[in-house]
Symmetry: C2
Subunit: 255 residues, 2 copies
DNA sequence: CAGTGGTCTAGACCACTGC
DNA sequence: CAGTGGTCTAGACCACTGA
């Protein structure tokens, strides 16, 4: 993986091992990204210095920097002058789009926030769920129904639908005191790339009005979330109904 | 604006004219950005080639490329191999966050879409408006009330509030057949950097139920938009009420 | 102080575009 | 073919960090 100054003796990216046709910096980037996502480079850990990387990949420093800068654009690393480059902690990664989750939202307003799980069911993917989660209809899934309370009052009801093994993992953590998305990022090490959101408005109706302790004729804000990881794989489907008098959803959308 | 190879004879960014303490590439970037936003470089126009820019600013090619790449990250230019760099047409700039507006949404579904303006009023900024638009309370504003129809049925009612001169400009264009945000980008040449969104749910009530031809007890999706330009200046405040049976709002949010 | 990233230069070859 | 951007190199000085 080197290149001579004399005219065309070696083409870029031919050498001992990895001989892709990718540009050099992209190969470096790919290798580092893989190590980060696999976990060989853990969250918060310092990357080797640019000169180390230069030696390791046998490329110029500019090429190393190009790779690092691409990784920075991806949100996988952040660099500090005089200190080094570090693997971003997913939870610290800039939330470009959305407000933080329900719990942070409420706590930021000085309210107590708690969640309760009142049912966990095994279901099979409907056509709609199959489409949103990019799986086959009929695939076994787990559906978790929750209520969330602020200052003791119910504010949100909804359900989370996901693969059974992910459900097991999440239930083993503190799903009652943390957002599903926050949990994914902080505890489980997932890296969210994007979230698909759909909003609408519905009447509370009988069942939800009981759970939220409101009049059946009250309008509720309905939002579905489908977070996708860095490989664009949908992680779960969430369908939430908010009391609009207690919660409004805010977001900043770029460009 | 040059630098010698011999040890420390000139510091970066000292020379005839613009002697900021900014890095060189940032100065080039700033200068080009200003020309784009001012309009001396029009939308879609080809930028000078890298070698021309190199000569013009008397910097190395890498520095020029660094500036261009920063502008690309800002969404102001796009470059094509073998062709050159071009000022992006705002309407072609990638919509990272949001779905396209109401009209495109409806037309993509094969429905006719039209808008009607039924009142234009001069008002003064309330405290809330003043906060959202970053102006002083009491500042004169113009409020435009609209209805939008899909296949002849009313689907959205709402109002747009903005500075009187912007309102005059927008009313001179085809506000009845295009979204305010699309209009800003395509016709007026504004560059949107981000949009603040807030969603909630409300009952239609008497006035809105008449305008939308629905039952007063129907829930409506309420969304407010405040688009900000590249200098983070709020451009207008929009408050829209959607019939949820005719329209759901979708967005993809990054990271 | 040594180590690290931030910026900059001159010069080179390549791939793509369009004449 | 000439022009343009895409990639790469070696070498240099600077500012910041932390022992």
């Amino acid at each position: 993986m080197f290149k001579l100054t004399s005219p065309s003796t070696a083409v870029p990216g031919e050498s001992s091992d990895c001989a892709d046709d990718l540009p050099l910096f992209a190969q470096v980037q790919q290798q580092l990204r893989q190590e980060i996502l696999e976990g060989s480079l853990a969250s918060g850990q310092k990357l080797p210095s640019e000169s180390k990387l230069q030696a390791r990949f046998d490329v110029s420093r500019i090429t190393v920097r190009q790779a690092l800068s691409a990784l920075q654009a991806e949100g996988l690393v952040e660099t500090f002058n005089g200190k080094g480059s570090f693997v971003t902690r997913p939870s610290n990664a800039p939330r470009l789009g959305m407000l933080t989750g329900f719990y942070e939202h409420m706590r930021a307003r000085g309210k107590t926030a708690e969640g309760r799980i009142f049912s966990v069911k095994a279901i099979k993917a409907t056509k709609l769920l199959a489409h949103d989660l990019k799986i086959k209809a009929g695939t076994p899934l787990t559906s978790i129904s929750t209520v969330r309370l602020a200052d003791g009052e119910p504010v949100v009801v909804g359900k989370l639908v996901m693969a059974p093994d992910l459900a097991t993992t999440m239930l083993a953590h503190n799903l009652e005191t943390a957002d599903a998305m926050t949990l994914l990022e902080t505890e489980l090490g997932y890296r969210l790339e994007s979230t698909h959101i759909e909003t609408s408005a519905v009447l509370a109706g009988d069942e939800r009005s009981r759970m939220l302790d409101v009049d059946p004729g009250m309008p509720l804000l309905r939002i579905t979330f489908v977070p996708h990881d860095i490989n664009n794989t949908p992680l779960f489907y969430a369908e939430m109904y908010f009391r609009p008098d207690k919660f409004t959803y805010k977001a900043v959308i770029r460009r």
